[in-house]
């Protein structure tokens, strides 16, 4: 079974940069599985900034919905980095997809990969209870997805100010 690592943390805590450096450690090349969809200019700018940081050693795959499929298709070679689970969940919820079932499918897919998988996700439950019901539902769903994926991953780190803190560690030398 390939190594799997979940990197969680707050917004702008350095999760993606950390995931990128881990992804390139093994073969010097990596596959970037992007879940982001640019719905507006702000999101476009954020995606462009992330892409600017990655060089020619990266191959990019778009997977706003079919994340498990993208992992299966890209397995067997270089490490994959999934950026990020929170946007993937957002996409699924906005299109009324069965995000719980798809998360379970993702769990089984991660467990059977042979090449490494590094998944980025967000901590969204550390603030005051949101006044907005939709925000509370999303917060609950994101927390459930994080716990469910963390359970199947060999290692989990919390990223703080750009540095990893060990949450769970079986197979990754953090």
């Amino acid at each position: 079974m390939g190594q799997s690592l979940l990197i969680t943390g707050g917004a702008r805590s350095g999760k993606s940069a950390l995931a990128e450096s881990y992804a390139l450690e093994t073969t010097g090349k990596a596959i970037y599985i992007a879940t982001a969809q640019a719905h507006d200019a702000e999101m476009e700018a954020r995606i462009a900034e992330h892409q600017k940081r990655r060089g020619p050693e990266w191959t990019t795959v778009q997977a706003p919905f079919d994340l498990a499929d993208a992992l299966v298709q890209s397995d067997g070679g270089d490490p994959r980095m999934v950026d990020c689970l929170t946007l993937w969940l957002t996409n699924l919820m906005l299109s009324d997809a069965d995000w719980r079932a798809q998360t379970e499918t993702l769990v089984h897919t991660i467990a059977t990969q042979t090449a490494p998988v590094i998944l980025v996700t967000n901590e969204v439950g550390g603030g005051i209870v949101p006044e907005n019901k939709l925000a509370r539902d999303f917060r609950d769903a994101a927390g459930w997805v994080n716990q469910t994926i963390a359970r199947t991953c060999g290692s989990v780190v919390l990223c703080v100010a750009g540095y990893p803190m060990k949450v769970k560690s079986n197979d990754h030398p953090v």
Copy 2:
């Protein structure tokens, strides 16, 4: 003196499930001290979901206000799990009770328990400063309660994606 453990973390980070598993470790039975009050359907659903997870090895005690008293009454036998301090604080603040004085009372009660106590609380200060003054006051109060209870507890863990990270550890083998 009995062991005391404070479990803190964001919403849906797996704090309650973690507390439940620790509570059952010693005798295989435990007492659940619930501070939640169902004010609306959303809260009722959340309480019901938590109850569904607990089996017949649990005895439930309701203590939305008199938490120290519930600990004293239930002492001497199985471990107790308090779920959670943040809702208890909410109840006290909404009824204009002296939550600082009651927290000090709780500190003294925890320090004199003979059976283990596991307390669940929430991290609510990790987001942007709330625009709402009441939310800022609650955030300040919750942070103060967490620090005050953490000082008296033998161990403190931060729960992230279902896993405990050691914050302070004297007597609990996390």
Copy 3:
């Protein structure tokens, strides 16, 4: 080169009290570099509460903008505590200053200090994405400042419920 420590954490997580105790460890005296500006009564009350805790072993310097300069001027003697970077960033952003350039200047200043520097900052990215564009921009800026300063500091800790968790540690015995 002097020791440098960044203390991050949520609101009311005990960061300032922790920084104060570290600052007094070396010589029993310390310099408090305050970035806060009292714009309203709530802020005044918060500043007054922080001051009340500090005794005559403290010298206070106000530096809402010229933080690098305050460090240079106060170098060579007792440890300095900067409280906090998040308010400093707020001041810079509100006055349309070049906060990125000033952060880079601060990085170089920290790297050349001879007396210890302890910097307090805030985790603000752990909640739901704010609906307000200004809040999102601030959150992004604060995360970038935290990462940038963390890189130059010898040690970084995350404060939870009053206790430090090691994030990065080169030279500080946390």
